[in-house]
């Protein structure tokens, strides 16, 4: 499947792109992260501490175990600091 992946804040800076299209067979968010980390050390660095990474699937906050069934947009970002 084709996924649109978005990166925000220091994840965007470390990866060097705000978004990209990815062709993947990953079934969960964790699988997707594992695939990305193998691709380039920029990704490996960005995802090196998952305790400070959050994920949203189709604009809804989700978790790393979540399935990518029905996902079209996946976003990675640090814990939010609104307000």
């Amino acid at each position: 499947m084709t996924l649109k992946i978005l990166y925000f804040a220091w994840l965007r800076e470390r990866i060097g792109e705000p978004s990209e299209q990815v062709e993947t067979n990953a079934s969960t968010v964790s699988d997707l992260i594992a695939e990305l980390r193998l691709r380039d050390e920029r990704y490996d660095f960005a995802f090196s501490d998952l305790s400070s990474v959050r994920v949203a699937i189709n604009q809804t906050l989700s978790d790393f175990d979540a399935t990518l069934d029905g996902a079209s947009e996946v976003a990675f970002f640090p814990p939010m600091t609104g307000g």
């Binding site: 925000f8 804040a9 965007r12 604009q59 640090p78 814990p79 939010m80 600091t81 609104g82 307000g83």
Partner: protein
């Protein structure tokens, strides 16, 4: 009932004029403004957000507060972009039948904005630029509700 996400500044007074509750339906109106507070080395604050998600997330928070406390009205305005010292970052206004429910609803909304609104802040300082780290207490605060 409104959620506004914008780069430009807002005017609390103008927002309060649009808030329902001043006709005798509300007994209490609380408003909160978050500001860029200066310290010795801060030059500006940059707010990045996730446009496709932001309004949706804020509307969810608003809807939850509305239902939980039977609010008369709620208005949330949140800015993004580069803000200077003293600039307004965001505001929430809440009207409710009673003081206690207005207070609790405001506290609830602010707690959720902190950890569930997709904004990220970068402090631009004299010597370096640093992403603001989320406070673990902020995440924990959500378990109160």
């Amino acid at each position: 009932m409104a959620v506004i996400v914008q780069e430009k500044d807002f005017d609390l007074a103008a927002e309060l004029k649009k808030l329902a509750g001043f006709e005798g339906t509300a007994g209490a109106v609380i408003s909160f403004i978050g500001l860029v507070r200066g310290d010795a080395s801060l030059l500006a604050l940059e707010l990045e957000h996730y446009p496709a998600m932001t309004t949706k997330a804020l509307e969810e928070i608003e809807q939850m507060a509305r239902t939980k406390w039977g609010l008369v009205d709620v208005r949330i305005v949140h800015r993004f972009g580069r803000l200077q010292l003293g600039e307004q970052i965001m505001m929430v206004a809440v009207s409710a039948p009673h003081r206690r429910s207005a207070f609790e609803a405001m506290d609830y909304i602010m707690d959720f904005l902190k950890s569930r609104a997709p904004f990220w802040k970068k402090e631009h300082g004299i010597n370096n630029n640093i992403w603001v780290t989320a406070n673990l207490d902020d995440e924990e605060a959500l378990t109160r509700w």
